[in-house]
Subunit: 283 residues, 2 copies
């Protein structure tokens, strides 16, 4: 396994970890100063800003933008709304290209309101990703399908396992064009008894595009914003990283922690220093 200590090129900070409290310009400087070599901004960080200027600032700070978060949900109640969502995703992909992002992260959405048609939502996602893939090739940014934890299946994501993501990718992109893969976030998939096999498959199929870490707390008190710092929960992080690297993944290890009651209340410097320490020890 790669050594993460003093290896900034292997470390990435997803800005959600800091709770979007500071302007992105300050976040970029802090993240670089604390020893990360990569950053993943969110679209909300860039609202009413010059994407080109942010891209330059990242480059000047020595930060690679390894990902850009995240897609507008694909399933929508009307054809009109679906078209709009797709257009927003096209714009976001163009911004991802401007940022020089390796991947655009697809959090796919799920049931539109008043719907119980999960199979229909899944079809809408596949149709939308198929269309978006054309733009991805054009602008040169890869799409990473991110399976989200099954507890998000009602509202945030009808894509819930790595196996399912790989099946969809094979269906949408049978020729493996190089622009459609998966993001493995330990938080969402650590429980899956097929995980080791699925990660190996993702490697074999050349679709392992991203690797995110945080931890699963016991007890977990919120379905969205109660993620733990690496080491504070029950996920065997080293084991999963060994599977990911054994499958050929060479990209950064990205920290993404949603934590409204703990880490989002702490000073950004403390959060970043803790991340760096834990990456070097428990991941």
């Amino acid at each position: 396994m790669r050594v993460l200590k003093d290896a900034p090129e292997l470390l990435s900070l997803n800005t959600a970890t800091l709770g979007h409290r500071l302007p992105i310009e300050q976040v970029i400087d802090l993240v670089a100063a604390k020893g990360f070599g990569n950053i993943v901004p969110w679209r909300r960080d860039l609202e009413r800003k010059s994407v080109g200027a942010i891209a330059r600032q990242c480059r000047d700070a020595g930060l690679k933008v390894n990902g850009y978060c995240r897609s507008t949900y694909f399933p929508q109640a009307t054809a009109e709304a679906r078209k709009l969502a797709l257009q927003e995703n096209v714009y976001a992909l163009e911004d991802a290209a401007t940022l020089g992002a390796d991947v655009f992260t697809l959090v796919v959405g799920s049931l539109p309101s008043n719907s119980r048609d999960l199979a229909g939502a899944r079809q809408q996602v596949k149709d939308g990703v198929s269309e978006l893939l054309e733009t991805a090739k054009k602008v040169g940014v890869r799409l990473a399908l991110e399976p989200l934890h099954p507890m998000t299946a009602g509202d945030r994501s009808c894509l819930n396992t790595v196996s399912q993501a790989l099946n969809w990718a094979a269906e949408i992109d049978p020729d493996t064009c190089g622009y459609l893969g998966v993001a493995v976030d330990v938080y969402h998939v650590w429980w899956d008894e097929n995980l080791e096999a699925d990660i190996a498959r993702a490697g074999r199929e050349d679709r392992l595009y991203a690797f995110h870490v945080c931890d699963w707390l016991v007890p977990t008190v919120d379905l969205v914003t109660d993620r733990g710092m690496m080491g504070d929960g029950v996920i065997d992080l080293k084991q999963i990283r060994s599977w990911v690297e054994g499958a050929g993944y060479t990209g950064p290890v990205e920290v993404e922690i949603f934590s409204s009651n703990n880490w989002w209340q702490q000073p950004e410097e403390v959060v970043l220093e803790t991340c760096i320490r834990r990456l070097a020890t428990v991941c």
Copy 2:
């Protein structure tokens, strides 16, 4: 599909739905009076009571005990504790036999405290179920492996999909002795893209022992006690029941709702009447 209206023999009430507020003796009378033909008590309902007397009361009230909840968790931090847990499960199975229960429900547990060894926990479950199966055959009560939602994988259950449950059952009981199967609770498995195929497989393999309903609320605010009444959430209940019955299931449809902030605050009669109405309409 079977018609659930005015068909008490097809309806079962899991006593957790009433929040364990009333003594079981009162619950039995209420459940029978409201039109259920079956009941599933919990071990806590029977503490310091005569199991034989409760069994008689159920029979006299015209209630079949279709299940008994639930196993002590199999994975434990020490061999001593594992032995104790197994012994408790043996006693519970004997009570299940006294009750004339169709199945004893296995909620299997997960990581012992301070452990991150999920594979180890899974092995402990399989070992424990193997041993318990001998008692099950002896007392004539079937064991139903219940996969719990992946959000319970840290503490309550390392068994999280129907597919996984069927794989374990095949491993533990390759000859299909007739005493090891699965319980399908829509709450835990509704999100799974393989569900239809897995339910069909459970039917083919003669392991479809129980079917539980409630609903998934959006948003869900608690990982354990925020289940919805059928019809109040996003699960396509009729579709899943059609799969279950299509696979040959002829047992009752069991209502099991954990709802600390809503249904457990309402009068038992209201809860039971609502269940009966919803069973007849949205399930």
